[in-house]
Symmetry: C2
Subunit: 210 residues, 2 copies
């Protein structure tokens, strides 16, 4: 057999992760049997478990990858920016199905719980860094505890994801997000309520700065 380069290996790993992810979303952890994983990835069980020790390890890797992606987005766009992005990209709505599966699994998989909590911490750090910067620059209210600000943003993220998951996308979601944003903005930074450009261009949404 020819030698396999590092980048080929990493690509195969990523292919397996992507296909296995859809399989876990479609069937749940228990329902994603090895045969279904083989079918979804187009690889034999031998090939799959060459890259990932077992199904538990594979699931943990899938969960970790989703959290990394979410943290990258929160870091570059801010939390409200991340939420608006999820609204605009319906493909991302299935994050929630995976999330529900993770929440179920952390009750019985201690390693998953540990890695998920570490990932949550990283997401929180990314969000904290961004919010701190925006408080210092006067765009966000400083009379609200930073932790409370983060808590409100996390509630909103999870509420939106859960809505998308049950197909309840409403025309009023963006306006509800505006309200959350306005409640966190410094009064000096508050523009006309009708001026949606102001709302999306300032405060938490700031994708261009990255």
């Amino acid at each position: 057999m020819p030698k396999v380069s590092e980048s080929d290996l990493s690509e195969r790993r990523a292919d397996i992760l992507g296909a296995a992810r859809l399989c876990f979303i479609a069937y749940g952890y228990d329902g994603a049997t090895v045969s279904r994983l083989e079918k979804a990835t187009g690889k034999s069980r031998g090939a799959i478990f060459h890259h990932f020790r077992n199904k538990e390890t594979l699931f943990r890797a899938v969960a970790h990858r989703d959290m990394l992606r979410m943290t990258e987005l929160a870091s570059s766009r801010g939390m409200i920016g991340l939420i608006r992005y999820i609204l605009e990209e319906p493909d991302l709505a299935d994050w929630w199905s995976l999330r529900v599966e993770i929440t179920r699994r952390i009750r019985s998989d201690a390693l998953l719980r540990t890695s998920w909590e570490a990932d949550q911490k990283a997401l929180r750090q990314a969000v904290t860094a961004r919010l701190t910067e925006q408080r210092e620059s006067g765009r966000l209210r400083q009379d609200i505890d930073l932790e409370t600000t983060i808590q409100l943003l996390e509630l909103t993220l999870e509420g939106v994801m859960s809505h998308l998951d049950s197909d309840r996308v409403s025309d009023h979601l963006p306006a509800a997000l505006d309200l959350v944003e306005q409640s966190l903005r410094s009064p000096d930074a508050v523009g006309d309520f009708d001026d949606t450009v102001t709302v999306t261009d300032t405060a938490l949404v700031d994708a261009d700065r990255q």
Copy 2:
């Protein structure tokens, strides 16, 4: 066999529903096998399916009962009042596990989808009636679309339930709820931010009025 009175029947039905609910929460719909349902309810399959045609019917009845309870609470306490109540009663945190199961099941059970959508509509009507009253009495901002107000409250409810489900109860949740409440209150009704009594006594939380 002695005759069974109507109220006995209704009580037995309620007992089965309560026990089956915990079984669905613990094992998920698929994992709640007939043997597990027998064990959970302490009744034979014959007795269970005397009251409910089959497992699907039983699950729909369990889902409907939870939504009725939620609508009653939203009607008497308002949506923020309902959310605070859920925070104070950790027993209710398992609502979310059932909700996740419902969301999964409505994809394959059309009757469940129909009844769940009707229940959601009833909840929304209860919330709308209360909010309309509070807008008219000047306690809530009228410059926000009513639908947007409801959307924000629904997002918040689902975010909180999802947080509780993954054991992430934080000390900052009540303060985050205050922020949501403040963002909806009429400026005339806004008190001192440090005055938490003002925050919980006015606006949406109004349990005493029922």
